[in-house]
């Protein structure tokens, strides 16, 4: 394992990292994803040696690094606000980590040229950071971090300070770069789309704890908790009782499965694009609904609906499907769920929602 973190704990006022363990396999690009205050940056800084954990262990390429000073860890670190040395030229910035190792001048020059080439900034070597745009500065920061051939690359919200167009560009560029360079990378982000686009694996954090980890698609299809479900994208949250007591097209069960613990405080999670709208009953489960509002979003149409019991529901359709249905505001229509997830709230000690049997994919 390139990076292994075991039982990491750190308390900082009312904010904490609690018993976090995970591993990053050699050569992968892994995202630490979570809302602000979830502890993701703290974990990254502990791995780099910039902060100390209260307890727990950090291992880098198989070597115990828990008590290793930051200088000896051999990590490359990229900061959200670039942190370039402002009184040095771009060349001097990238050369810094090589000069520290007292490499021969000619070798430093060759390596710096190689890296500036890699980040497509060869023509900028004699400029100062203040003369570059945000995206260029972050590429310099990346070149500087990669120059001494770090064992692992750590990126702390690397695109957080950039505007959205540059961010998108740099994101796909980082993925390409990683496919070329193959350095094990761990990056922190609060943007689920960024995590999905770039990473091989995602570690989802909430309040200092790991909620779930796995490949992006797996997290999306099999979220382990309501938090993960909600954090990974828009989702309708419906009380299970009201769904189960709903009138349906042909008196079939509102959800075509049995719930051993039905009732209580369970909720149904269903994503807007995991539902279909139909005008006629066709033997499948369908919930009666009233179209309140249509919003055209280019290729898709967002439909705001109200179920019979007054619950709001959001459905996303393709433009073609909406045209086929001749959908208009004020229509009454059937909603056919294709894919959903039910979580039941368990009493203490955890007081967290647990998945129960019955998630269902058609």
């Amino acid at each position: 394992m390139a990076i292994a973190v075991r039982n990491l704990t750190k308390r900082l006022g009312n904010f904490a990292v609690e018993d976090v363990s995970f591993e990053v396999p050699e050569g992968q690009l892994v995202a630490l994803l979570g809302p602000s205050g979830s502890g993701k940056s703290t974990i990254l800084r502990i791995i780099a040696g910039l902060e100390k954990a209260d307890s727990g262990e950090v291992e880098l390429t198989g070597e115990d690094a828990t008590y290793m000073p930051v200088q000896r860890r051999g990590v490359g670190f990229v900061f959200q606000h670039y942190a370039l040395f402002r009184h040095m030229t771009i060349r001097q910035n990238v050369a810094f980590g090589l000069e520290v190792q007292r490499l021969p001048k000619a070798e430093i020059k060759r390596r710096v040229d190689e890296l500036l080439n890699l980040v497509q900034l060869s023509g900028y070597s004699e400029r100062y950071p203040s003369q570059l745009s945000g995206g260029q500065r972050q590429r310099v920061a990346l070149a500087r971090a990669l120059a001494p051939r770090p064992k692992v690359l750590l990126l702390d919200e690397p695109f957080g300070a950039l505007d959205s167009r540059v961010r998108d560009e740099l994101r796909s560029w980082l993925r390409k770069l990683h496919d070329e360079v193959h350095v094990t990378s761990l990056f922190v982000t609060h943007d689920q789309q960024e995590a999905f686009e770039v990473s091989d694996q995602i570690v989802v954090l909430n309040r200092g704890k790991i909620e779930q980890m796995g490949p992006p698609q797996e997290l999306y299809e099999r979220p382990a908790s309501p938090f993960v479900t909600e954090f990974l994208g828009a989702v309708n949250v419906l009380p299970l009782d009201s769904i189960l007591s709903m009138d349906t097209m042909q008196d079939e069960a509102p959800l075509p499965v049995d719930f051993p613990t039905a009732g209580g405080r369970a909720r149904v999670y269903v994503r807007p694009h995991d539902m279909e709208l139909t005008r006629q009953s066709d033997g499948r489960t369908g919930w009666f609904a009233h179209v309140r509002r249509l919003t055209h979003l280019g290729g898709t149409v967002r439909v705001e609906l109200k179920l019979l019991d007054g619950t709001d529901l959001l459905v996303q359709l393709t433009r073609e499907r909406s045209r086929e249905l001749e959908l208009a505001e004020g229509d009454d229509i059937y909603v056919v769920p294709r894919n959903w997830k039910v979580f039941e709230e368990r009493p203490r000690p955890e007081d967290r929602m647990q998945p129960i049997e019955g998630d269902y994919v058609i």
Binding site: V70, F79, H87, R144
Partner: protein, 266 residues
């Protein structure tokens, strides 16, 4: 119209208060011609006084640059009980009349004090010697470097220091290659201000120096002494040299900062 009047009156005020006295001094010192001017500078007593003023100021500046930066560092980077009090005490030397400063130093290090006696026996004369002058200068210029470095240090991007550390730089190397270059202009400003201030320091120095020509008599003391004994020209010439040195430093500082700022300021 009021704007014009305001502009005119502030300009006139600057002229009357600052430019006019300077011009008169310069003009009168030059009255007797260049050769008399040079002769007055290279008068052995005047020349020694000028050298002494500059050499004591240089020693003071070297100490201040190091200790002032260190003090600012401690005030910005560490949390400790009494930090607020320490921060408030820094400016105290500005509030102490300089004659009182001299008197305090005499009371502490003077030949009749306990510490002075011990030091004297060890062969370390302070009061009425050159170290006394340096001590007095250090006291009156104490806040300059600290107060000029402190705000800059507060603004330093810790990310740059952290980046350097992750690239393998030791704490000392991080300081030398990343932090110090950022602080350097402010250290330069602080020391230059302290140096200018020291060139003209009279009140405290006259108390501790003992007024011995060719030994502990500084430039400003020489000026005062020559006026007392009727050598107006000699006093003026030495004054002009002190003034020109101060002015030269301020101008040089300005140029250096403009060049740095123009190059790659944020």
């Amino acid at each position: 119209m009021p704007a014009l009047a305001l502009r005119g009156s502030t300009l006139a005020y600057l002229g009357v208060m600052v430019v006019l006295p300077l011009a008169v001094l310069a003009a009168q010192s030059a009255e007797l011609g260049p050769s008399a001017f040079w002769k007055a500078i290279f008068d052995p007593f005047a020349w020694h006084a000028l050298k002494l003023t500059i050499s004591t100021a240089l020693v003071m500046v070297a100490i201040n640059a190091v200790m002032g930066t260190a003090t600012a560092w401690v005030l910005v980077r560490y949390e400790f009980p009494g930090k607020e009090v320490m921060n408030a005490l820094i400016d105290l030397p500005f509030a102490v009349p300089t004659v009182v400063t001299g008197l305090m130093l005499v009371a502490l290090y003077g030949p009749s004090s306990a510490l002075g006696t011990v030091l004297g026996r060890a062969g370390l004369g302070v009061i009425y010697q050159q170290p006394g002058i340096v001590l007095a200068l250090l006291f009156v210029t104490y806040p300059f470097v600290i107060r000029s470095v402190q705000p800059v240090l507060l603004e330093v991007d810790r990310g740059e220091e952290e980046a350097a550390a992750t690239l393998g730089a030791s704490p000392w190397m991080v300081f030398r290659r990343v932090t110090l270059p950022t602080l350097f202009p402010s250290i330069l400003t602080g020391t230059a201000l302290a140096f200018s201030r020291a060139l003209g320091e009279f009140g405290s120095v006259v108390m501790v120096a003992g007024n011995r020509p060719l030994e502990t008599k500084t430039g400003p003391m020489y000026v005062f002494g020559e006026i007392e004994s009727g050598n107006r020209h000699g006093a003026m010439v030495v004054s002009v040299v002190l003034l020109a040195t101060s002015l030269g430093i301020l101008i040089a500082l300005n140029l250096i900062q403009r060049r740095r700022g123009g190059g790659h300021g944020e």
